[in-house]
């Protein structure tokens, strides 16, 4: 095996284990036996088909939001606002689904809703890219602030135009079964959105590494002034990269609304943006790596839930944040060690040569 790939696997595995170990030690503070809890949750996860399906289910939106961050990251741009673009996609998905529900065939509805959700997220992203291109606005700040604005828009709509017909809670009506994403594994909730996410990851990989647009995006990312000299219009790249990034996050809104929740509620999936960012880092912004890193985060999420439901012990839900936070931090630290290992090997090679 290639030494670089081996380093990558070994250091990442070490980081994940270190993160879980530390979270386990934190459980001791509550007088909970971490070994027992981890063994229980991992066993249940792998032995129960439904629970295994949940891992893939939870990974689905994360693949999209991680791709959203990774895509702009390749152009050395920061889209911290995937959460807001996700909300925009969710709003578009539920609004259109409720409109079309029962009026058009399921396949037509799903395709239209998917495109609209992606467009909604994409336009939100493109706006950020446009502000960057036209006014040199700092995209990091604008995208971050846009999430809070999107959240306010969503809460407003949930209270007014999209409010359920019973008029009780700030949430929408549920969409009927004909607007649901079809389940692909019987006995689970796993829907076709996961396949869509994997296809998106492959598509983004092709786009980045096999097309002229992808080449330009990476060129702007690695050396902005050199790419300008060679005639690449970086302003267009900003808008294009942010549009695609936002569209990916918007598509996550579609899979969550039509695939899982079947309605829009307040505080809807409030962590997909930052988890996506963490996953993109874990995968070194590689679209294919993102699929696996998302599955890991999905598994951590499911494990956390299982621990919470384990009979006899009382593991708080915040264990999920704790595990994800520690794993993210250790993965970042592992980059340093990988770099160090690489340097040492290079030095030895040069010494041998001399």
């Amino acid at each position: 095996m290639n030494t670089k790939v081996r380093d990558l696997i070994v250091t990442n595995a070490a980081a994940i284990i270190a993160g879980l170990l530390l979270s386990g030690l934190m459980l001791l503070l509550l007088h909970i036996n971490p070994v027992e809890v981890f063994v229980y949750s991992i066993n249940t996860m792998f032995s129960d088909k439904y629970t295994m399906g949940e891992v893939f289910l939870k990974a689905t939106p994360l693949i999209f939001t991680a791709l959203a961050f990774a895509f702009t990251f390749k152009a050395n741009l920061f889209n911290i606002g995937a959460q807001g673009q996700f909300y925009m996609g969710s709003i578009a998905a539920i609004a259109l689904s409720l409109q079309l529900d029962g009026k058009v065939p399921t396949a037509v509805l799903l395709i239209l809703v998917c495109l609209t959700a992606a467009l909604a997220g994409g336009l939100m992203g493109a706006l950020i890219g446009f502000l960057k291109a036209r006014f040199k606005a700092n995209e990091f700040l604008v995208s971050m602030m846009s999430t809070y604005v999107a959240l306010a828009v969503m809460n407003y709509l949930l209270r007014t135009f999209l409010k359920e017909s019973k008029g009780e809670y700030p949430q929408t009506d549920a969409i009927s079964r004909s607007a649901w994403l079809p389940v692909i594994v019987k006995g689970t909730r796993l829907h076709i959105g996961f396949v869509l996410a994997v296809l998106a990851a492959v598509g983004i990989w092709v786009l980045l590494y096999k097309t002229p647009l992808g080449y330009r995006i990476r060129a702007v990312g690695s050396n902005a002034s050199a790419s300008r000299m060679s005639g690449i219009d970086s302003n267009k790249i900003f808008v294009a990269a942010f549009f695609i990034s936002g569209a990916l996050a918007g598509a996550a809104g579609f899979t969550e609304v039509n695939g899982v929740q079947h309605m829009l509620i307040q505080d809807f999936n409030s962590g997909v943006g930052s988890a996506g960012l963490g996953i993109a880092i874990l995968a070194n912004a590689n679209p294919i790596g993102i699929i696996f890193a998302s599955l890991l985060f999905g598994a951590l999420n499911v494990m956390g839930n299982l621990m919470g439901r384990m009979p006899g012990v009382n593991v708080p839900a915040s264990i999920v944040d704790l595990m994800q936070g520690f794993v993210m931090l250790f993965v970042i630290i592992s980059y340093f060690f990988r770099h160090y290992l690489e340097n040492r090997r290079e030095k030895r090679r040069l010494q041998k040569g001399a």
Binding site: M26, L29, L30, F78, I80, L131, F135, K136, A137, N138, F140, L141, V142, M144, M145, S146, Y148, V149, L151, A152, V153, N155, Y156, R159, T160, S274, A275, L277, G278, I281, P316, S318, I319, V320, D321, L322, M323, Q324, G325, F326, M328, L329, I332, I333, Y335, F336
Partner: protein, 305 residues
């Protein structure tokens, strides 16, 4: 009414000033403290726990400083000494801080049936000065942290622009090689400014729990750390600019609260007021052109390159 509005604006500005000035000093040395949201949260939690357990707000604020320092130290070590990406590391620390605070809150207090309360910091009326019409009640009937901020503004300006250490900090952000050649440890300077941001950010967080609400909730900060971060940009990396930016924000927030309280919701949706500070940041970011960004902001320093 105007008086209470202005007073409220100044009160809401206090933590933002702590945070944005901390951010200005750190960013001048080249360090974007993207962990600021997590530092605020740790401060809010540490402050609450310290005050609740000992009954002393002073010890609470010390605990807040310590909590902020811990978050900042981890951030500093990973970004400065291990040379990892500042935006990325900050995000990890923010997620982790949220997890740790929520989890440890549970470890310490279980699941309480009623929210745990502490008494918020009292207002202190400064003799004589508080009697000045309008200005008195606005500026001189605040809690102790606001008075600390009055001292902090000139002190930070003096530190950055009138001392040789301030020059070193600014040079570290512009030309670390030159600083290194002069025999000064670039990474130590940066680590110092990040730790300072931990102290000040911790106090800022404590303002929300100990100073104002008298309780701790997981979403107590709700993006205020990011607002402080934004103010640093908008204030052009200068304490004076940070003051100006904060005043605008404090006023917006106070107006939003006021409009909600007088039933402005019947004309405008409440969400508009909630989103106002964030919209304002976007508008201000777009409208400002000639930023004076520190040249090496966000770039780790290593001697080899």
């Amino acid at each position: 009414m105007i008086i209470s509005l202005l007073k409220r604006a100044l009160m809401m500005s206090t933590p933002l000033l702590f945070g944005s000035i901390a951010e200005v000093i750190a960013e001048r040395s080249g360090m974007m403290v993207t962990a600021i949201e997590g530092i605020f949260l740790m401060g809010a939690w540490g402050g609450f726990v310290g005050t609740y357990l000992t009954g002393s707000a002073f010890i609470g604020i010390l605990a807040a400083i310590l909590s902020g320092l811990v978050a900042a130290a981890v951030y500093g070590v990973v970004c400065i000494y291990l040379k990892q990406h500042q935006v990325v590391t900050g995000t990890a620390i923010n997620v982790l801080a949220a997890g740790i605070c929520t989890y440890l809150q549970r470890v310490l207090f279980g699941v309480p049936t009623a929210p745990l309360k502490i008494s918020p910091l009292p207002e202190i009326a400064i003799p004589v000065l508080s009697k000045i019409p309008v200005m008195g009640p606005v500026f001189f009937q605040q809690n102790i942290l606001t008075y600390v901020v009055y001292l902090l503004i000139p002190a930070s300006y003096f530190l950055l622009f009138k001392t040789s250490f301030g020059l070193t900090i600014r040079s570290t952000g512009e030309n670390p090689e030159a600083v290194d050649v002069a025999g000064i440890n670039v990474n130590a300077v940066r680590f110092f400014t990040v730790l300072l941001a931990g102290v000040m950010g911790g106090i800022a967080g404590a303002f929300y729990s100990v100073g104002y609400l008298g309780m701790f909730t997981t979403n107590i900060i709700g993006g205020r750390g990011w607002i402080a971060f934004a103010i640093c940009f908008l204030g052009n990396w200068n304490p004076k600019g940070a003051v100006l930016g904060t005043v605008v924000f404090g006023l917006t927030e106070a107006i939003a609260i006021y409009m909600q309280s007088v039933g402005g919701g019947s004309y405008f949706p409440n969400e508009l007021f909630i989103a106002l500070p964030y919209l304002l940041t976007i508008i201000l970011t777009v409208s400002r052109r000639n930023f004076n960004v520190p040249a090496k902001l966000g770039v780790a320093y290593s001697k080899e390159n």
